[in-house]
């Protein structure tokens, strides 16, 4: 047997079933790897070894019973060690959102996505680093220090789900949960050379996901392949009475055996190959498109004409929603308090001192966009242009089944490279924002490496609730290529 942490999730699931390995052994292997690499990477904000071992022991016991009755269904996630982005509630375990304002907050309940994974037998290793309240593209906005990219320790892992991406890429865990409001699963997956799914808006319950931009927030997952990702999606997706935005539509059965893409129509939007895109990103994405063509897909150029407006639309709508969502941090019911004699001063001091710079910037921007006299001009106009962006996708999806494009204009940038220039950081999201504004799903996956040996990612987008086509296409690509099998030297 190879090093246990080098198994794929599916290989580990199969070894567990056969009894070749126990969940406790897998868990201990992951915990050892975390211990060895965490000083270099800082992927975790909290580790939960005791919880992990007790969950692993319970999983092993269930496996022993199952082997007597192997005809009973057993989820592929059963006994698999995973990590959870520290913006999803896990009952009793500190959940900080990368913010001082939630330091030591212990949620009284678990998020539905997390609870469903637990019901499906996963082992939870810990909570992963994130930009504060998921606002950022590098994890540099975490109040608890940045995560380092396993492919280059002086590089960012992307963000905001950068801790999850680094942990999966470094084989510290088999899978991790992330969230994607403007690219926060896909961009770190791309920067870390792994596979990441942004689910359709409304596909996975957001109950227990600490809110940022409520019309955009989605729960997703990160793994080392599409095939590994599928069991997590199946475990999490589907209606939840605790989230009225979670769609009642049934989750389709998804069969990955068929690697044939004959007849699948893939559109390549011309607006995504703009000036400023790194040569190697464009080259790798275009050659991946050729692989899809060899697999039988029909490729055509398409146009999403309002793409360049996605950035200003997003950076008005998301901050506006954030300014409302983050009003709850009032130092009354949870979080540390900057004590003052008057309630008013206590609000001002607690929020002024404990929110980080990017969070304050977005709250200010959103408050401005919603304030009297500016609401129609900014927030209202952004909502109308959002309609145009969504219409672009609706129109193109009449002609194609999938849209193929880069995830980010460049590979992972250096820690500190964007310094104090928020606009330069926002530009990193230019290719991922449109899918959130349109509510469609997207999957990022590795399609090459640049001259610095940093991964290049590409994404496919599908129509709303069309995750099945994403899994099938990316899996087909990964049966023909081995970019996703590369492992960083650590």
């Amino acid at each position: 047997m190879p090093n246990l942490t080098d198994l794929s999730l599916l290989e580990a699931a199969s070894a567990l079933r056969k009894g070749d390995v126990s969940s406790v052994e897998l868990t201990e292997a992951c915990l050892e790897r975390i211990e060895a690499l965490e000083p270099q990477l800082h992927a975790f904000l909290a580790q939960t070894p005791d919880l992990a071992i007790s969950q692993a022991k319970a999983a092993d016991q269930r496996l022993q019973e199952w082997r007597k009755k192997p005809e009973e269904p057993l989820p592929l996630t059963h006994g698999i060690p995973v990590a959870i982005k520290d913006i999803l509630c896990l009952e009793g375990i500190p959940t900080t959102c990368g913010s001082r304002i939630l330091e030591d907050f212990r949620p009284p309940y678990s998020a539905t996505s997390v609870a469903r994974l637990i019901d499906n037998g996963v082992v939870i290793l810990g909570k992963t680093n994130t930009d504060e309240f998921a606002m950022g593209s590098s994890t540099e906005n975490s109040a608890y220090g940045t995560t380092h990219n396993p492919w280059g320790l002086d590089r960012v892992p992307g963000g905001s789900s950068g801790g999850s991406a680094a942990a999966v890429a470094a084989h510290m865990c088999f899978a991790a949960l992330g969230t994607d409001t403007g690219g926060s699963v896909r961009q770190p997956a791309s920067f870390c050379g792994i596979t990441g799914l942004k689910t359709s808006y409304g596909r996975v319950s957001r109950y227990g996901l600490i809110a940022y931009g409520s019309s955009l927030d989605t729960v997703g997952a990160l793994t080392r392949s599409a095939a590994d990702l599928l069991p997590l999606f199946i475990a999490m997706a589907g209606h939840d009475p605790l989230d009225s935005t979670c769609m009642p539509d049934p989750v389709p059965e998804i069969n990955l055996d068929d690697g044939n893409l004959t007849g699948v129509r893939i559109g390549v939007p011309k607006e995504y190959f703009i000036e400023g895109i790194q040569d190697e990103v464009e080259t790798a994405v275009r050659s991946a498109v050729n692989v899809f063509e060899e697999l039988g897909a029909e490729i055509q150029e398409v146009s999403l004409p309002h793409t360049d407006l996605a950035l200003p639309v997003y950076y008005l709508i998301a901050p506006a929603e954030a300014s409302a969502n983050l009003a709850r941090y009032d130092a009354v019911r949870f979080g540390p308090r900057r004590k003052s004699e008057k309630l008013w001063d206590q609000y001002l001091r607690t929020r002024g001192e404990l929110f980080g710079p990017e969070v304050k910037r977005r709250i200010m921007l959103g408050t401005y966009a919603l304030s009297a006299g500016y609401y129609d001009a900014y927030y209202g106009q952004a909502q109308k242009v959002r309609t145009l962006i969504k219409d672009d996708f609706d129109t193109v999806f009449k002609d194609v089944d999938l849209i193929a494009c880069p995830v980010a204009p460049t590979t992972a940038f250096r820690i500190g490279e964007h310094g104090d220039d928020p606009l330069a950081m926002y530009l990193e999201d230019v290719f991922t924002l449109p899918a959130n504004l349109a509510g469609v799903p997207g999957m990022a996956f590795p399609v090459g490496f640049d001259r610095n040996d940093l991964p290049v990612g590409m994404q496919l987008n599908a129509p709303h609730l069309g995750e099945k086509a994403l899994f099938q296409a990316v899996h087909a690509y990964q049966t023909q290529t081995d970019w996703h099998l590369r492992k960083p030297d650590l």
Binding site: V332, L343, L348, P357, G380, K384, T387, P422, G439
Partner: protein, 95 residues
């Protein structure tokens, strides 16, 4: 579009954020440049375009109205910075 330090102060107050004078100057400059970059958005003719507040079809799902147990009070108070007699304690709101 540019924001003055006074406007920044006003917004910060609406958002209940105490800023240092240095932060006020920095945000005035940064928010101005972010809004400037959004200027092209304001030029789009949207007179015939409805706004999108959600991408989901409008629905009003209802669940059966059946009472179920609440989490215990101690649990819901356990994260509070200050409590008294089973309640959240705050400084006086009225003089």
């Amino acid at each position: 579009m540019s924001l003055t330090v006074d406007e920044v102060r006003h917004i910060a107050n609406l958002a209940r954020l105490q800023l240092t004078p240095e932060e006020e100057r920095l945000y005035a400059q940064q928010l101005s440049s972010i809004l400037e970059s959004a200027a092209r958005l304001l030029e789009v003719d949207t007179s015939q375009i409805p706004p999108t507040a959600t991408v989901l079809p409008l629905r009003a799902p209802l669940r059966p109205d059946i009472p179920r147990p609440c989490p215990p009070r101690e649990k819901m108070l356990s994260n509070a910075p200050e409590t008294e007699a089973g309640m959240f304690r705050v400084p006086p709101v009225l003089e």
